[in-house]
Symmetry: C2
Subunit: 249 residues, 2 copies
């Protein structure tokens, strides 16, 4: 028996709302809390299906017809683009209860792949659209989610275009810390579910450079690394912020 049992059965993933595999995730993602009647919520539940994905399994493929929209229920997903010769740029990491599957011109705009075993709630795009027409509240919330996504994309462009390797790595660690903080976790301990190669592809660097930058931060006394090197403790948050240079944010 593995030390960290993973949820691979729909039964386990649906503990929060029996009969609705995605209750918690969908409600949280669309900020329904109290805004939908049980009838309305049931409407959403009718069309949702829970799907499981193993590590490195593709969830959506760029340029495929965008038949579904998704909410990440458990795990971590990387969103990325690829050039013909194999160069990869990860444009974002998703955590529960992130929404994805946005399309441009009826087709998915990116690849999405499970970074660790993950489960997602899948909504047929057509059904979701119909429900959105009924509940404009939902559409407005989606607009706000996507607006934030644009702001994040612009931050990432600034990082990729103008920051040094050390600054990129510091920004990444700080960003992950902010996410897990809002997710309820204590604060200065950050778990990184993705490997160095995924981080490198997100930061526009190589694995070696990411590794060197992390070692550099460790040597400066800004962070500490766990034995498995996937958990980072921030020991000097001020220094990390300085390096990250998050001016406007």
């Amino acid at each position: 028996m593995p030390t960290k049992p993973r949820s691979n059965s729909p039964a386990e993933a649906s503990t929060e709302a029996p009969g609705n595999p995605c209750g918690a995730a969908s409600a949280e993602a669309f900020s329904f809390g109290g805004h939908l009647t049980s009838t309305e919520l049931e409407r959403v539940n009718q069309i949702v299906a829970l799907r499981h994905f193993d590590v490195r399994q593709l969830i959506v493929i760029q340029s495929d017809i965008a038949s579904h929209r998704f909410i990440l229920n458990e795990g971590c997903v990387k969103v990325y683009r690829m050039l013909a010769d194999g160069r990869v740029q990860v444009t974002g990491f998703l955590f529960p209860p992130d929404f994805f599957g946005v399309a441009a011109g009826g087709r998915y705009a990116y690849n999405a792949e499970a970074v660790i075993p993950s489960s997602v709630c899948a909504f047929p795009a057509k059904d979701l659209e119909r429900i959105m027409e009924e509940f404009p509240e939902m559409e407005r919330r989606l607009l706000s989610v996507i607006s934030n996504e644009i702001a994040a994309a612009q931050d990432q462009m600034l990082l990729l275009g103008r920051k040094t390797a050390l600054e990129r790595t510091a920004s990444f660690i700080q960003g992950m810390a902010n996410r897990s903080r809002s997710g309820g976790d204590g604060g200065s301990r950050v778990f990184l579910p993705m490997n160095r190669s995924d981080i490198a592809d997100y930061l526009g660097l190589t694995t070696e450079t990411v590794s060197r930058a992390i070692s550099n931060l460790k040597a400066r006394g800004v962070i500490e690394l766990s034995k498995d090197r996937r958990t980072i403790s921030i020991t000097d948050g001020a220094a990390l912020s300085d390096l990250a240079e998050d001016s406007g944010q």
Copy 2:
């Protein structure tokens, strides 16, 4: 008298729809064509105001309260972020009839500055919101516009994270050519309203590197430069596409 007179008076900008300074721009941007009654259109016109901006004049400032939304009526606008030490990343160039002024958390997520003398239609955000509640059609259209913006942002992340200077420059020229093509212009001649420094800040390079890349493309016989170096003729579109590596698009 200058050879290319610019429209600096509201009167000249409102030729298309007398009494409504932004008729053409707002209708086109929201894809109303035929979908709004004259009463509804009038509602939009009531709240719009035309504003003029000189070269390098700021239109919106990052982190200011996002009181207005805009549609570019004439000219060209650069959207950018800046680090504390002055490093700049241009996240996009806007052309008529692009929409901008999207906010995250009630505040503008970026700076926007006129690249050439420009005019914009300004809508008070509150009024626009109210109108959107009345006409969900508009909101859905905005959602689609923003979705495309995310796809473009991801393309740009791939460019900034993984493409060489030559590939970035080729991608930029091809992107500008696509824009002006859809804008009605013939095809292989592209006018670049922005200077090399703005291009460099968009591509995550320096002006020198952009200049070298353009010279390289010229030497390869892919493009030709006009005397004023702001108009590019694409002489080998296939070679340009190969260099740009626009896999999925």
